[in-house]
C-alpha cells in the first residue's frame, strides 16, 4: 500500500474542497492518520469552514461529492486509506466540550 505524504493529501483536499465549497467558505485543511472500525489504517481529514453557516448552507451534494472525489484521488495515487471527513469551524476546534 502506498501512503502518500501529508502535504500532498492536504493539496488534494484543498483543490477539491475549494472547488466544491468555494474558497471563501473554507479556511484550512487538516489530515492525520486514523483507523476504521476494524483498526485498518485510514485518514481523518478535517475541513475547516469559514463559518457555521457554510455548513448550514451546504449544497445537497457537497459533502458526498467531496468525499467521493477525495477517495478517488487517493486511490489514483495508490493510497487505499479511506478518507473520513469531518467539518468544523475554527471556533469548533477551540471550543470546550459540554458534558
Amino acid at each position: 500500500m502506498t501512503v502518500i505524504a501529508d502535504d500532498k493529501i492536504r493539496g488534494i483536499v484543498k483543490n477539491i474542497a475549494t472547488a466544491t465549497f468555494g474558497s471563501a467558505n473554507v479556511k484550512d485543511f487538516l489530515s492525520e492518520p486514523t483507523t476504521d472500525v476494524d483498526g485498518k489504517a485510514a485518514l481523518q481529514i478535517t475541513i475547516v469552514l469559514a463559518s457555521e453557516s457554510s455548513a448550514a448552507e451546504m449544497s445537497p451534494n457537497a459533502a458526498l461529492d467531496t468525499l467521493v472525489q477525495i477517495h478517488d484521488e487517493l486511490l489514483k495515487e495508490g493510497d487505499d486509506r479511506f478518507p473520513f471527513i469531518r467539518y468544523a469551524t475554527s471556533e469548533d476546534l477551540r471550543a470546550d466540550v459540554d458534558e
Binding site: D36, E52, N61, R86
Partner: protein, 151 residues
C-alpha cells in the same frame, strides 16, 4: 421505518436546542440517527427487491429486512464500490457514516461540531438520493452483492 423521518429527527436534534450551542449528547444522537436512516433505507430496498414493493409487512418481510447487517456493508464495500457511478458514491457515504456512528455511540473521545453533524445529515440524504438515482441494474447488483456471499 421511514428513513426520511429518521433524517428529520437527526436534523431536529441539531437545530432545536432552545438556548446556546447544541449538546454533545444531541449531536451524537443526530450522527447515529443519520446513519440509521441510510441503514434502514438499504434494508427496506433489499426486502423490496426480494419480496416486491407491495409485499405485506409480515414475518417473511422482517426476515429479509433483518438479513443485512453493519458488518456486511463494511466488509463488502470494495466489491460494492466497484459497481461504480451512483453506487460508488452511496457506498462511500455509508462507510463514512458508519464510522461516525460507531464513534458517536461508543467513543468517549469523540467530539462532534454542529457543522459536522449538519454535514453528516446532508451526506445521509445524498446517499439515499444517489442510490435511488442509480440504474435499476446497479441497484440490484448492489443489493444482491450485499445479501449473498460470493463462493
Amino acid at each position: 421505518m421511514n428513513p426520511g423521518h429518521l433524517l428529520e429527527q437527526a436534523e431536529n436534534l441539531i437545530l432545536t436546542q432552545p438556548t446556546g450551542a447544541p449538546r454533545q449528547a444531541d449531536l451524537r444522537r443526530a450522527i447515529s440517527t443519520a446513519y440509521y436512516g441510510v441503514f434502514h433505507f438499504v434494508m427496506a430496498a433489499a426486502a423490496d427487491l426480494v419480496l416486491g414493493k407491495t409485499a405485506p409487512k409480515d414475518d417473511l418481510y422482517a426476515r429479509v429486512y433483518r438479513s443485512l447487517n453493519h458488518r456486511e456493508l463494511k466488509d463488502r464495500s470494495n466489491d460494492l464500490r466497484a459497481i461504480g457511478g451512483k453506487i460508488k458514491a452511496f457506498i462511500d457515504a455509508v462507510i463514512s457514516l458508519q464510522k461516525d456512528r460507531h464513534d458517536a455511540d461508543y467513543s468517549p473521545l469523540y467530539r462532534v461540531s454542529k457543522s459536522d453533524a449538519l454535514a453528516k445529515v446532508t451526506l445521509a440524504r445524498s446517499a439515499i438520493v444517489s442510490f435511488r438515482d442509480a440504474s435499476e441494474g446497479d441497484q440490484k447488483a448492489c443489493l444482491i452483492r450485499l445479501m449473498f456471499k460470493e463462493r
